[in-house]
Amino acid sequence: MENSASLQESSLAPSNGTLGNSSLSPSIVTDHMCASALPHVQYSHNPAFISQSSRDLASLPPLGASFSQSTASLIHTQGNKDVSWSLDRLQMFLDLPENTPAPNQLVESSTGVLASEDHNKKTNWQEWADDLINVVDPDWSKILDNTNVLNPRVEVPKPSGDISKQQPQFHQNQLVPHGEFSSHAYPSSTAPPTKPRMRWTPELHEAFLEAVNQLGGSERATPKGILKLMNVEGLTIYHVKSHLQKYRTARYMPETSEGTSEKRITSIEEMKSIDLKTSIGITEALRLQVEVQKQLHEQLEIQRNLQLRIEEQGRYLQMMFEKQKKVEDEKGGVPSSASDDLLAPLPGSKHPPCNNGKSDSEALEQDHSRTGIGPGNAGTNEDKSSSGVSTKQKMLETESTVHDESGFSVSKRARTEK
């Protein structure tokens, strides 16, 4: 749900240390929140919610050392570098929540299915961004003009062989918008230039290297020169600067002597020296290490895909529920048994119920694309969906065996499996 009203009072006021809905995304914000501003939340009986506005941060309740430490660490570590700290705060605010170019151009993944939702999101966030620009203070707009930050519509060329390395004109920078989740208040100090979080890609890095080499190497090249040569829309000098710094570090301190790697390297070296004594060979030990690492990676990919599909199904079912409700209301409360049968099992999971689940889930997925996903579509597809829903009802009724009162028949069977 869009709500530019709440955005207006949100984190555009750099000087206040308000918490809460300082910059919460419209889509997550509840109605209540939109209506009221919560300048200082004081819950005397509950220390967990006392805002620390004096810290100029959105609430950091002292829930526990590590908790506040972790959220504060970002602040503290940069506390000494005031400018960059301020930049970070700002950058989080000005990031936009959508990162749509990324899935499209990175590895072909399960985002294919999410593509349609992404598209919806694109338009939503574009509107939000536009609102934001209009609402912005004169000071801010000057700064924003500078960097084209609020222009998430970056041209993304198709990722294949078309990308010539010679071309300085890369549009593959991804202004990673996550303003939706940035909920920090801003420092009361001067308005620093924006530095939205940039998500680098290998292609962008190539362009960077090209520029650096043309300018005579990492020592001689200047951020300004690099920026100019790269000529990438949305890229700022701050991005280039920090990237250059990282590059220099990586170059002149090769893998083995990098800060974080030192500790782990020594321990692995100990390990390897013991290896040598037992004449196994470092190579073999390394091989084994790679094997384990590969396995972890594989498992992570599998797990991630599963998680995506779970949520996708959940979302779909939710939509079905809502449509079901509408149908019921329209029909004047005709009881519908299908509303109980919406717990389709996971496709491809190991549970026995998925035997009939597989074909059903395929049909579900077809319907998925037919009716379109996303709350925005629910309204427009009303006609299509009501007929879709009735066929759904019949299909889902066959799955009534899957469902029981508690809704956890799946789990019960899973348990007996073990």
């Binding site: 809460g20 995304s25 889509s27 997550i28 209540h32 919560l38 009986h45 967990a48 829930l63 590590s66 908790f67 972790s70 660490s73 970002l74 990162n99 990324a102 990175l106 939706e180 989740f181 940035s182 909920s183 998500r199 890609t201 190539e206 990237h243 590059y247 990586a250 090769p254 083995t256 390297i265 321990s267 692995i268 390990m271 290896d275 037992t278 196994i280 470092i282 030990a285 390394l286 091989r287 084994l288 290490q289 790679v290 384990v292 690492q293 590969k294 396995q295 972890l296 990676h297 498992q299 992570l300 797990q303 998680q307 949520e311 939710q318 996971l346 956890f408 799946v410 899973a414 073990k418």
Partner: protein, 260 residues
Amino acid sequence: MKFGKRLKQQIEESLPAWRDKFLSYKELKKLVRQISSAESCVEYGKADAEAEFVHLLNNEIDKFNVFFMEQEEDFIIRHKELQQRIKRVIETWGPNGTKPSEAEYKDEMAKIRKDIVNFHGEMVLLVNYSNINYTGLAKILKKYDKRTGGLLRLPFIQKVLQQPFFITDLVSKLVKECENTIDEVFPVEQEDEEEIVKEQREAITIAGKGIFRNTVAALLSMQEIRRGSSTYGHFSLPPMDLPDSDLIHSFQLNSPIPIV
């Protein structure tokens, strides 16, 4: 508390610089409990509590995003540098190089192998970082909904799925490329693999903290977390299929908290 314990374990095993970047699972859980018990207090309205909660979650997500993208950027740079370094070594000291020297070549290659394997490991651990934080968030949201009867989980998790830290495609791609490079850089495998593997197992269990240890912990944690629980339900992951499970279990002899 199983996930909490697992998470804590992984954090302990993780690289020092990463330790404060993980989800503050325990604290958030406490918060959820507080919210549900404070619900009766009229002073502290439910919507306010939810707003507060969402705000904190957003902070966490910010933290993940920032950290993840920093690491990702680093990986991109290092990946490229490694490749160039390999090229240089081969061209300089390799058999057909400008100044071929077997000793130097071997030396440099050994270093490269070690570095590339560790690099590979670090990248995989970042993917793991992403995943475990996601899992934690999903769990917390589930708890929240359960305790407060709210409907926060579903929409919120949809947003999380689109966050940069969850979109690990690029890092995964780098991992795969790294694996290809590893294949190129390592000599062809020998035939007496089995013996060697057994001896390696013993050697590696002597390891201290490190990427390898972290990787093992991560794998086993995953397996454990997915073993099913009392709240196993529609949104839960099925049990994990981990080949070489026994081998991996044998790697953690020195763990103070046995991952049984």
